[in-house]
Symmetry: C2
Subunit: 204 residues, 2 copies
DNA sequence: GAACTTTTTCCAGTATAATGGAATCCCCAT
DNA sequence: ATGGGGATTCCATTATACTGGAAAAAGTTC
């Protein structure tokens, strides 16, 4: 949340060291899994996707490396996006609990602004949940996050102003807002009392 | 939230009618956009990705159809997943506000359970935000959502029990939880007073 | 077990992905 | 205008993706 986008030309990531070839094997297992779950033959999937039986067989057995267009056709035959086709199943876990007093989740404890993390620290970080407490005059100003990032916010107590993309809106207790977080954005306490906010950050 | 998963063998989607070839052109524009935003040369990107300058040029100019492995290498050079590389930019919008009194967002108003939606109704539905009020004895029981769906929940007031995947945990005010929502799950008020919960549903 | 049907794998050929080197283009400095 | 350097495109070649038909394997029925 205090992410700072670097200034100047961004340097390329280090050359990828993990073999991209591994993705083909993963795709192969995944296609076979999805197909057999549905009780489809290679012929059926070939018909649905427009990819030859032979190619599908090679993908499943040998981890053949299809072109992007072929991969997308397969994904669509399963009614999925590329991401959905290739993602690994989420880790199965039971209820994960974060207690109110758990200091590890006290993200920031300043006089004007206190932040508590409400989502587990070790889960993949595409969605995060926070409780933010702003004293009168307190503000939470953020640099742009990754492109596409949005935030949901609800005011549980107090009054705040939300700023994003050159727009600003005043919110009272019970009000909510949704706005871009891939531009500079801020939450400002504009009342005379403490404000309590629940904030969902969606990195997408 | 009351989604019912279908039973029986699933039939294949109709044969894809949208040309998968369009994706290559989209990829080409996207790679050029990302590269020029970063002020990288083809040589720089080639170095970072391990894909030849020529191939990158062909992708950008001619919409060449790379293999999956090559596409993934390019994505990784930009520090992205395949989905992120290929997705279209989210709709740009200003701050969207939902007022406390907006009846359109009162999702359920029963005696034992009241639900208010805190995220905009017309936004894409990969993440949803709710406020749930449960009277003593009240419960919110849900059928499984899509595979991979999770929920984050924080208790603002009262005491509840969260049930998911055969596990159950008791939570008090200030506590939070994260759990699977692609299995039957429930939130039950186990206290003597009203419980107020903020709930994030992540459809992934 | 035998016969039949369906599914998957193998095979050979064609199409195209992907490369490295050379040529061309573009920009900047003198 | 000229020269130099960096960036991009072109070119010819190699490697591999992808196919349809045939063979083999697997499954089903009597």
């Amino acid at each position: 949340m205090s992410f700072r986008k670097s200034r100047g030309p961004e340097k390329p990531a280090r050359k990828t060291t993990e073999p991209a070839d591994a993705v083909s094997h993963h795709l192969g297992s995944r296609v076979r899994q999805l197909r057999t779950e549905r009780d489809w033959s290679l012929e059926t999937l070939a018909g649905a996707s427009g990819v030859s039986r032979s190619m599908l067989s090679q993908i499943e057995r040998e981890g053949a490396n299809p072109t992007l267009a072929v991969t997308l056709r397969i994904a669509r035959a399963f009614g999925m996006t590329l991401g959905e086709l290739l993602e690994t199943p989420g880790a199965v876990s039971s209820v994960i609990v974060i207690r109110a007093a758990d200091k590890a989740y006290h993200y920031r404890s300043e006089k004007l602004c206190r932040i508590r993390t409400l989502s587990p620290l070790n889960l993949e970080k595409d969605v995060e949940f926070y409780e933010v407490l702003l004293a009168p005059g307190g503000a939470l100003r953020s640099s742009p996050h990754f492109e596409g990032t949005r935030e949901f916010l609800t005011v549980q107590q107090g009054a705040v102003r939300v700023e994003s993309a050159g727009d600003a809106e005043a919110l009272e207790a019970g009000d909510s807002a949704s706005y871009r977080a891939d531009v500079p954005h801020a939450i400002v306490n504009i009342g005379k009392t403490d404000a309590v906010i629940f904030l969902v950050v969606i990195y997408r």
